[in-house]
Structure formats: C-alpha cells, structure tokens
Amino acid sequence: AQSVTQLDSHVSVSEGTPVLLRCNYSSSYSPSLFWYVQHPNKGLQLLLKYTSAATLVKGINGFEAEFKKSETSFHLTKPSAHMSDAAEYFCVVRPPGAGSYQLTFGKGTKLSVIP
C-alpha cells in the first residue's frame, strides 16, 4: 500500500522569498513521485517527476524537488516566489513497475503569494 502526506494545507509567502512545500510518502518499494500544480479553475499540470534517476529533480518555472529515501520525503522548493505561483500543489505517488496505473494524490497545499 502507498500513501502520501502533504504536511501543510496552506502556505503563505511573500513575493521574492523562498517556497517550501513538504511531502512525505509511504511505499513498500521505490515509487515514482510527482508534483502537479493546479491554478484556479484549471486542470493539473506536471511540475516535475522523480523516477529513480537523479535525486534532485528540476522542473518547470524554477521549481525543484529532492528525493530523500532515508526521510521518505519529496519536498518542493523554489528560490524566489512569483505572484503567478499562487495555486494548489499536489504531491503524487505511483507504485513501481510498468503497468502500475494508480496514482495516489496528497490532499494538496494551497500556496498564497503576498505582494
């Protein structure tokens, strides 16, 4: 069984300051991990993914995440927040192996950016 916990339901930062969105996962094997972003009234867009290659993963719009197996974490960071980053962010885990279809979503973290 697998699960994912997003530790903060809401994070608020000032524009130009760093962003940290926390995610912990639970999985019997090494999973694939993803971060998706959902802007208001929009669909989900993939930010980045980890698939057992480099542990530091770079994504779009300056976001990156580091896979830490010892801590079972996959936190999302960005050095400097922009107003356009205000959105809902989802950490997602997928079990290993081709043909593993089922994603498990975290409950989401709403990021607010204060001007």
């Binding site: 989900l44 290993p96 593993s100």
Partner: protein, 114 residues
C-alpha cells in the same frame, strides 16, 4: 494543440437527470482515467481503461458508467444524478509501458447538480 480535451467544461443539471461527459486525447496514449475532485480539492480515481479494457474500477456507484469506444476516447455517463455528484471531473491519459510516464490531465468538467 489540445492534448487532453473534455466537453462540456461546465454542466448544470437537475437531480434525477442523466448526463455524459466526453474526453479525447491526441497523445497516442493507451491508458485513460477519470478522476473526481471534491469541494476540498481532494482527487480520487474513479476508473481507468487500458487499450479499451477496464483496469481500475474504484468504489463508485453503478450510476456511473465509463465507455471507451477507442483508445483515444473515454466517456463518462452518469444516471439519476444526485446532489452529491456535484464536483469537478478530470480526464487523464498516460502510456502504460514505463513507470516514468506521467499522466496528462484535461481541463476538467465542473458538474453542478441542483
């Protein structure tokens, strides 16, 4: 070019009606999904089809019936709509042959049952 498209974008209907939501993907993927997002933004998978075969069927009322006429389309038909069906429904698609392949999501259909 739209990768995963859904129609309609908004759907307002009364209790007891029957409605359908259509989904199409032009990515050449072999697997498609339906998700339900509730008012608290929680996403839960409902169904998944791989090469037109049902592979995931979560605990969903049998009023919901997915249909996949071909690999590029997955439609969702809902009978006897209830107030609790109000939500945003997302279609998604992916390739199945590699663990690294992510799912691509459509823009969503906001269903409101009155």
């Amino acid at each position: 070019d739209t990768a995963v498209s859904q129609t309609p974008k908004y759907l307002v209907t009364q209790m007891g009606n029957d409605k359908s939501i259509k989904c199409e993907q032009n990515l050449g993927h072999d697997t498609m999904y339906w998700y339900k997002q509730d008012s608290k933004k929680f996403l839960k998978i409902m169904f998944s089809y791989n090469n037109k075969e049902l592979i995931i069927n979560e605990t969903v009322p049998n009023r919901f019936s997915p249909k996949s006429p071909d690999k590029a389309h997955l439609n969702l038909h809902i009978n006897s709509l209830e107030l609790g069906d109000s939500a945003v429904y997302f279609c998604a698609s992916s390739l199945s042959d590699r663990q690294s392949y992510e799912q691509y999501f459509g823009p969503g259909t906001r269903l409101t049952v009155t």
